[in-house]
Amino acid sequence: MIVRQFLFLFLVVTSVKAVEVDFQREVRPILSDKCFFCHGFDPETREADLRLDTPEGAYEDLGGYAAVVPGKVEESELYRRITSKKKSEIMPTPESHKSLSAKEIEILKKWIEQGAGYEEHWAYQPVKKEEAPEGEEVDHFITEGWEKSEVEGSEQADKATLIRRLSWDLRGVPPTSEETEAFLNDSSPEAWSAQVERFLADPKYGERMAVWWLDLVRYADTIGYHSDNEMKVSPYRDYVINAFNTNKSFDDFTIEQLAGDLLENPTLEQKVASGYNRLLQTTEEGGAQEKEYRAIYAADRVRNVSEVWLGSTIGCAQCHDHKYDPFTAKDFHAMAAFFDDLKEAGIGKRRPNLIVPTAEESARVAQLKKELESGSVEALVKRDPQFRAKIEADRERWLAEGKLIETTWRMGSLSDLKAPNGTKLKIQKDGSVLESGKVPDQASYGFQLRSQGTVAAIRVDAMTDPSFAEPGGFSRSNGNFVLTGVEVKQNDKTLKLVKAEANFEQKDYPASHAIDGKKETGWAVGGHTREGRKGIRQIAFVLKEPVTLSGEESLTVTLHFQSKYKGHTMARFAVAVSGDSKVDLKKPVGPPAEIMAALEAPERSAEQETLLRKYHLQISPEAAGVRNKMEALQAELEKVQSGMRRMLVSEAIAEPRVTRLLHRGNWMDESGEVVMPAVPEFLKEDTSWEIEGRASRLDLAKWILHEKNPLTARSTMNRLWRIFFGRGLSGNVTDLGGQGQVPSHPELLDWLSVDFREGGWDFKRMVRKIVMSEAYQQRSEVDSLMREKDPANELIARQGRWRVEAEFVRDSALQLAGILKDDELGGESVKPYQPDGFWQHLNFPKRTWKQSEGDDLYRRSLYTFWCRSFLHPSMVAFDAPSREECSAERARSNIPQQALAMLNDPIFVEASRVFGARLAQQDGDVRAKIAWGIHEAFSREGHEEEIAVLEQIYQAQKEKFENEPEEAKAFLSTGNWPAPEGLSPEEAAAWGQVGRVILNAYETTSRF
């Protein structure tokens, strides 16, 4: 340890006497914490009409006296009141339960004596870039601080510590032994920078940084409130990983998340990014009030966007002007108004509105479509003369026999489709009808039905379509529909239906309910459940009296979907008729009436010839092989399409909702003025905010990135710094505002902020600046003197040390075991082991955790399904946040639940025993194997005493398992990973216990 010398103590306590008081660092925090609640920004709570947040307010003549008279303590009412002994006079008032310490009074006294100068709060001042020697900027500012405080930094940490630290910070896992060895053996001057580049280029970098960002934007897989059902957003998570790996610039990153959908011809990636706006908590709770939840969502978004990008708690201004910062209630609502264009249900299911194919899926779809086109019967007829000849011959045969075709069902021809406003019905190639446009709450679908001949029964087939949000479903809402009524008319005369029969009926929703004349009841098919989504759902209605239609005549049919469940319509259906009153749904559907007519026509028109030619291709046995192939391709196409990931993204509505200033945040009060989207008033001038017309989310994003915006870069760099030192340059990484903390190194924070922007908002560039510094490479040990003098390490005269994040605790265990599945990035969230019944309190519907299989059990923990109301218990134990709100600073607790999880959670037991098996398989004797294990876990050589501890438990446990071989087998049965081959169970179990000890050692999961 190097010797430190203190000429005087750093702490402000003792520095008051000699030097000028520092307004930002010393005075303002006192005024803010002790005075502004009643004498600050918020006029509603301002007492005695006195404000102390501005010099004008403080110096104002209050009738022969003033609160603050610069230079004159005795004349300043403020000083008199804070030193008064009278209960009725003393400030802060006893009711406020705040008081000033002698030290604080002394600071305020000095401040008045020295002229009571004011400065704008540091975080709202323009960012300034001070000169610094190139390449040494970080160290320049830090050593300046050391010099001022007369301390010296710590010496450089040893290389093994450095690579381990860097690996945790950049990848969220420790280095492997091989990586450590290679680095130790690289004695070139560029060894460190080469190592930095290697880790920056490792895809694990993106996963690690994503954990940081996902906490901020409160990414989760469930909606949060009440039922806490799943919402599909995981492609957004992958976007974030990818953005860090490809080093997407922070301005693009910002714009795409807030307004990707508003960009011109947005790419799929940009649309995915706009999923950011859908990450908030939402509800489906019956009885919840739409207006109330709209207000809740608005506040949620304002809180998040301001905390994520501005490091500001504008959310506090929901009910009143901010007490400590110049944000007003109007600013809050104006910020909320930016998001009023988002298409979103107030209450209800969050249905995916974007299909996100992988590159392979897109390629496969294109390929399949191409094959379907070029391989179709029509194409072959054109291309292949031999094939054409065969078909021609078969057509002759068919035309001759055609008249004899006998079928029960014949396809109906539909026209004049009618649907509610905003919803479209379109006839498809196969004659079916497809719903598109707005999903109606309730609807009645009408059409004209033509089919020459007798009509004794009408049949409706409900079909699925790959465009539906719920794969295999029958509606575009949750997959189910309720057919509440059917009307059939001939020339305005209603034809009576006497019977309804279906091939599937949901409990309590039989076919008969479709024709019982009641609006509340209907036929449904369980399409909202996985089991209910099979095949085609068919229903047939029998007419009381059959009718016979000529070629021109038609029936008017209306299908009613008037259930209380919204969006429960058939979104794709086909209609057929039969001349037979005896319904058999299993019989196939034959040619439509017009084909029959054409076949039977004594003289065919040209159109009829074409019609027959086309139709024949669909039924010709000569083309069966080709058709089968095409059907298989079509089926594959549909399978690929329905297997594609779906997600929630931003979608703008033409007419944005109206935001009103809600008095005290009360959503039931509609008397407030209408507010248009705008940025906070006090920042408008500096950032030249001028927008013609209604400002959009895109304008907001650009304003956030405006070069004169003092908050964005500062907040982001402050948080980035925390990743690498364990503490922000300003100690409060959540809030840079008045109640935050003045930075320890304001010039450094500013330098980083400006450089971040000027360097093209380049994250990796800034990471390099930080980790290449000498400050970063210091040792983390602290002697008792420094621990006492600078406990929070504000001088950065040493590195930080801490237990790593929840995800990395598990990831590193899996890596040590060699079972971390890390060769693929992204994908749907996975469900590793979780105790049974952990979700028992979830309802609507009740559900269980369906454990993943195979490799999915061993993916990095950022892919674990993030259930907001019941996050995985081991993640919770290690302080993973629920992600209900922005979380800029995870707690670093040290609680018994962590010990219980590491000791007993099956994943850690499994990782321990597999890691143990790796030890066993190393060369050498027991001690050599143990030494290898220590090196792997701690990135350093083991000490003699450590090896002895582990050797002892190995021997003791080996003996135990040899005496109780059944116990060894039981121990090895935890987790799905197979027990090692070539090792006796007793041996493997004993090594497993050694593995447990190493995994549980604090050093394994600590970064220092």
Partner: protein, 465 residues
Amino acid sequence: MFETTNRRTFLNQSAVGIGALALQKQLLAGELPHGYHTAGPAKAKRVIFLCMAGGPSHLETLDYKPTLAKMDGKPMPESITKGQPIAQLQGKPLTCLGPQWEFAKYGQSGQEISSQLPFLSKMADDIAIVRSMTTKQINHDPAHTFMNCGTQISGRPCMGSWIQYGLGSETKDLPGFVVLTSVGGGQNQPLASRQWHSGFLPSKYQGVRFHSKGDPVLYVGNPKGVARGDQRQVIDAVNALNEIRNGRVDDPEIETKISQYEMAFRMQASVPELVDLKGESKETLEMYGATPGDGSFASNCLLARRLAERGVRFIQLYHRGWDHHGGVKNGVAKTAKLVDQASWALVQDLKQRGMLEDTLVIWGGEFGRTPMSQGGGANPGRDHHIKGFSLWMAGGGVKGGVTYGSTDDFGYNAVENEVTVHDFHATMLHLLGIDHHKFTYKFQGLDMKLTGVEGGVKIVKDILA
């Protein structure tokens, strides 16, 4: 003296990395957190909160309304309901539904209690009934959050965490804040873990949920093939490695880690011992109506007593079964039957063991139910209601045989002595010897309080013994 002890406990327990260092600095700099204890001594040492989740109907349990009976079937006067938040009855005709069960006066105090709570009526003189509760949230999830945290915003600590933070733990072998759950008698509304979350307080203050199936506390059981002696060996080895490491780097986090492994090991024994009801007499089991291991409210009440005996500070029992949107008459009867006897037994048991005087028992839900009928027909129900509802408290410095506050003739609005959730919290804290005004925690630069920042919060003095 209390003050000093408390600070020391605080320091010792606060090994939370940089947070701890910051605190240390605070202490060194002479900026001790302000004392937040009441002038007088604490009456209660611990709280058992019997949370009747779903929202019990006050009109069929604790708040008798003869006028409402006369109005049965008639329209609810619009003057009362206009502009009020309404849940599932939005846009529907509002018709009065009279009390579905008769009430009678019980005990020397003559407290009015429903016929469906026969056991409760036996101890009418032990309890204080508050009939003028109000809350701000009309749906289950936010209403629970409001009842627990004093705000519906997620990420704030619940009362159990606050109390842990304020008073520390009295047990070395068990968590200081335990949550137990049971179901039955009505629709089970979901219950999120945020209800026992420590929010911005250190996570060691979060509630630990006990389970009736599998490990009673998650991961408290040893892995397969590992006996307690083996676990001891493993922990000894882990601690030995940590000691060696600490000898080299001198890190307080490692010291804490070692003590937490010891705590975990003790919990591995104390938790199974706690939930093992073998030692309880037949009479006791019968008094509660409990069958060991059935996960019922009755078993949980018995466990609550055992937890209280062992020094657990805050014990919260959720019974999910009071959401009677339909069939409120039979629903209340059914759910009441599942909780009435055991609630009574718990109070009696605490009393006979001399623990009632310093244990505050609270019985109540996240809100009440409408005087208006929901669903109509032969089995009408009641919707969520926030403007007036009831709860009872016993022990821990609460006066027995008192009814406090009242609602209007319909049981709609709390019209006399309204008790808000914040008032309720302030009163509870007061009984525990904490001045809610001074009981703050810095978060995002603000002095956060369980009782909010709005002011006007009052302690319900009239029910204090």
